[in-house]
Amino acid sequence: MNNKGNNGRKRPAQQQPAPPQPSKHVATTEIEDEYMDEDVFIEQNLVDEDELILRDMEDREALANRLEKWKRPPLSKAYHSHSQNIVFQQLEIDYVIGESHKGLIPNSSGSAAIIRIFGVTKEGNSVCCNVHGFEPYFYISCPPGMGPDDISRFHQILEGRMREANKSNKFSVPKFILRVELVQRKSIMYYQQHSSQPFLKIVVALPTMVASCRGILDKGIQIDGLGMKSFMTYESNVLFVLRFMIDCNIVGGNWIEVPAHKYKKSAKSLSYSQFEFDCLYSELISHVPEGEFSKMAPFRILSFDIECAGRKGLFPDAKYDPVIQIANLVTLQGEEQPFVRNVMTLKSCSPIVGVDVMSFDSEREVLLAWRDFIREIDPDIIIGYNICKFDLPYLIERAETLKIAEFPILGRIRNSRTRVKDTTFSSRQYGTRESKEVTLEGRVQFDLLQAMQRDYKLSSYSLNSVSAHFLNEQKEDVHHSIISDLQNGNPETRRRLAVYCLKDAYLPQRLLDKLMYIYNYVEMARVTGVPMSFLLSRGQSIKVLSQLLRKAKQKDLVLPNVKQAGSEQGTYEGATVLEARAGFYEKPIATLDFASLYPSIMMAYNLCYCTLVTPEDVRKFNLPQECVNKTPSGEIFVKSDLQKGILPEILEELLAARRRAKADLKEAKDPLVKAVLDGRQLALKISANSVYGFTGATIGQLPCLEISSSVTSYGRQMIEHTKRLVEDKFTTLGGYEHNAEVIYGDTDSVMVQFGVPTVDEAMKLGREAADYISGTFIKPIKLEFEKVYFPYLLISKKRYAGLYWTNPDKFDKMDTKGIETVRRDNCLLVKNLVTECLHKILIDRDIPGAVQYVKNTISDLLMNRMDLSLLVITKGLTKTGEDYEVKAAHVELAERMRKRDAATAPNVGDRVPYVIIKAAKGAKAYEKSEDPIYVLENNIPIDPQYYLENQISKPLLRIFEPILKNASRELLHGSHTRAISISTPSTGGIMKFAKKQLSCVGCKALISNKDQTLCSHCKGREAELYCKTVDNVSELEKLFGRLWTQCQECQGSLHQDVLCTSRDCPIFYRRKKAQKDMAEAKVQLERWNF
């Protein structure tokens, strides 16, 4: 086979067009889809390096000189002579198929899987370690009565079948099945009395063959003397890289050491890493992430953002719209400030202080400069906002459109093309998300948008609102229709754009720092043992699986590859919630919490795959009663003296590690160490909690509903038990002052009203109850007293609000759950109203005040005095109008706006803000939506009834019903709802026929004389009416000044006009409105100057 093609990976379908000179490459093979569960290998993605030197040498040199100073530190000479141990932190592991290394494994031949580990040394050198000799394998249970001869015959038959199945395979391997070994193992499933059984370990030549071999064994093969037999395979679905990591005890992001003289510098360097070397997998020393090895290497983190010049009215499309700017920031892990800031622009751009501005005349040069920059900077982690779905694919598709074949070499492998592929990521926890996968070998991609969507529930995920939320600053938002104008302007306007672009590149880095993402994710990788890239691209279950496999390996247990049964196994009863006794409680409510309830249950009752006894086995084994637990859902598990479960053991380790991490955290002084430890304890907590979910995931890797339903049934029992004990013990009969009452119980907490009036007393009783009840549980289940709510507004199940006290002197915060404070399809008015009411009720303890506030707000709404930005509702436009089955307000509006002005109309992917306007009687709800700006400009009346009925009434009633007797009548139908004022639209409808005439400022009577302001009747009130007019002007001037200077502040410049059109910003509409009202009020005032 061709020697050139030994790197890269194979992806099914959707390949990029082949680069020139296809004759040099071997044609690809069609491989059935079902075998494609792992990465393999392709040559199409390769480009000949010689072809790349097409660019003008001088240009390249000039650029190279600019980039030179950012190179990584020089490499120690000792590496080249193999005389120094190489110690590095790995971030990314993958594998390729290549010729097996003759030097390291002398008697091998043909293709073999080579593991590539990319990492960084303490000194900041990048290394690529090619690991040889690790072979893919899996297990099958050995049929009874199979002797050594049978095994070798079985081997031959299997080899034959494999040869047949892989006829078209291009890889030259002398043997498909390398070995079949007889080993002693035990299945993890079900309690078994014997200690182990014979299994066959089947070692195959290449990782893909695991799947194809599994297929053959699943279907069954004919064995002489045994007949047609199909086999249950074990651990045949473990990704090759994970298999390697497990067997070598490597966890994600840990430090690896290769001793001196045990490695060889690669003869031909295939990667752009500073040092590339080969070694045997058995020589790797994997360090446990503790002490010195818990630190982080100085990775290079690149944060970037691109701008493209879109066409009016259309979302940028790589086929037509050029990339005009790319802003880059590179930061060393652990440092506060980026050490590289630059921006690459198409056409000239004025300089920016502290930023290296590189301007180019053609787009081709911009793209190639960026490629060179990536290569020179050699980032380990690439971050940005929505880079996976937008920026990276766009760059690659754009290069394709421009036919720049040499552009997409952005990974660490020489000549390997970066490819884009559509993927869907689906997980029970995170839902289904369409995404694009861009392969960048050796570099970790970390898209902050994906991370945000995973880790936080926010009302909007625009970079603007995310940075407003976490960094407390508004981001200037330039509408994409303006971007082209700025680009087509002069160097100054392009500079403007560049500043904007740089800010967009900087914010992801700031978010990364602020949320400690690097620490948290590296720690999560270390705790769960998966590579960092899995954390963002895969669900929870791979993390638990990795831990399970590691633990099972220690105990010689193997995991069956269960056929995916789909969801037909049914569901089971979930957690219980005690009936909520809705009301407003003005006595302290103590909350008793189970600490890590589900993990504790699994530990306490030894719930595991390997302790579960099947109904048949119950009879067969005839286990004594005292050795087993029968769970409330009817399953039988053996106790730990017979067989200790693996899951409980994993959980114990996780929780013990968390306690250690928390203890260390208290001791730690160094902020960086603290960050690591805090990230670790968080990762440990999340991991412990996800074990339960793993057993309940019916389309997961190894579902076992017996375990998960037992867990929840125990949980329910404990909540009930707690309620009973509290209500039995804390009574006047028992010598307490009051009868305790359980008012509500959630999944893992119980709310108790002890009847005492002070927080202090409630805390004492809470502690007493927690200790007393904990004593009745099996360890480690523990009931903890944590907090007191006082006062407490309980609305219904999972909806409550209260002041949260952990010490008797001062409350910590206001805690709310399930109440409309952050729902994204509500307008801001709802949030403000609810927050303000709760504040008045709970903190000020002023219920009449809250009622008055609601009345005033409703009156303002009806009297058209409401700030429009509070009424804006926002929804994302996910597809175009025709694709929606039901007509939706925002979609209809987008269509209408497109008809009005295609340039500024929202596109698919944008968020559409709208308000509900008054429309003709009988108009459908979706016809009543309108663009807030349009409403402002044309004085269109909003529909206050809609807001009253559909937006604010429900949340308000929820809050007030437990408090007021006739909440609905009092709040929504009082005298304050009688006065209504509606503005007159200035366009459309009947206004076309209306004639404008001057009227008296005082009484609105028509006046004929143009020079007059008042009618003769109102003349006497001149001073008063003038005061009113001028006061209105003065209020508006005040607002105008504050709003516009705020926007100047945000954009960071006094001498340039504000361009921002961020509709996520709360003052955007106010600013627009102030501008318009100001002009009108000024005209009104002019009328007095006769």
Binding site: S350, P351, I352, V353, G354, A468, N472, Q474, E492, R495, M814, L828, T835, H839, I843, R865, R1021, E1022, A1023, E1024, Y1026, C1027, K1028, V1030, D1031, N1032, V1033, S1034, E1035, E1037, K1038, F1040, G1041, R1042, L1043, W1044, T1045, Q1046, Q1048, E1049, C1050, G1052, S1053, L1054, H1055, Q1056, D1057, V1058, P1066, I1067, Q1075, M1078, A1079, K1082, V1083, L1085, E1086, W1088, N1089
Partner: protein, 421 residues
Amino acid sequence: MDEVFEIQKEMYKGQQYSQIYYIRLHLIRTLIYSLLPNWKPHLPVCTVLGLEEGKECIIVGTLYKHMKLKPTILSEYSKERSAAPLVSPDNFVHADDVLVLEDESGRVNLKGNVLSPSVYVTGNVVALHGKETGGGDFFVEDVLEAGLPPQLDLPNKLGEDKYVVLVSGLNVGSSSSNPLQLQLLVDHITGHLGDKKEQRTAAQIVQVVVAGDSVHIQHGLLNGQNLASKDQSKLSEPIKELDIFLTQIAAGIPIDIMPGYNDPANFALPQQPLNKCLFPGSSAYNTFRSCTNPHLFDVDTVRFLGTSGQNIDDLKKYSEANDTLEFMERTLRWRHLAPTAPNTLGCYPFTDRDPFFVESCPHVYFVGNQDKYATRILKGSEGQVVRLISIPKFSETGTAVMVNLRNLECNTLSFGIQISS
């Protein structure tokens, strides 16, 4: 001479504040450039963008002060209700404030001890001598301000005494204002009070200036609804009362009235003259002038420039000085009456001029509505002599100020009232 402050014909047409900053920068920079040959002729002049690391140079630009405590309208939206105490609303200066210099080309952070963030405010235009450091900051070694403007000579050093009376903060209608006190002032000015000597002085009063906050209006009465007749009179009564006082004066002596923060006038500077419909009585006299704030006028050949106090009050919030007069002196040296406009002080978005630029040095520079009376003479390097006056609120101190045009000497008129019956 108030034309410069009039905005009758100007309209809000979507213009923003960038222009006024641009014009200000342009005006003062041209002026500063002309001073450079006498200041540091050996140094090259750079723009912010033209800075090179380590190279000593001069840059001229608009200062921007980044303030931690500055209240923003945005925080009203994103406020997390908390029990934390709010900062004192009088002064937002904080030790962590930093200055930034901006010109059309960009911004640069300023470092070094020469330029004190507590003295300067956003909107000042200055020249800085220094060099760019490795971190992209500009290390300031020296500062040059535009300095006092040139002044017209005062020709009539000799001659007879003539007085101009300056008064502010009458606050007619407020609880602190006493009608009797005000009547005493009016009687004194019109010569109906005191002995011969006092009457002689009164006869030498040639001009009265009322510098803002003349009436007190209950703003609660002005929110939209039509007023009941009882409230109508509550609103118009103080205005009528003021009109009566003004009429008494206008009958004998020229009087200028300037609008102030609390008056029924617009908010943004420059405030436009109070409408004559408010003063049906006094406006009948041609001695009565309703003026803008700021107000620029000549009496004989003495040039007066003054405001109703907003410019200095805002400086007090966003910077620090020993006393009011020092703030006043700064505005003259900066060549700008209200540098904090539009940033923290409301102002009209001018597109073609900056009316607050001080073109020529006044002989008398006054601000109204201050806590106490203070005055001193400021002398400039080119022989300029300016009388700085901080006029106290009359309703609280019972004090008005008399300036003698002959020698720019100043004394106060105080009216104590103790009614014992």
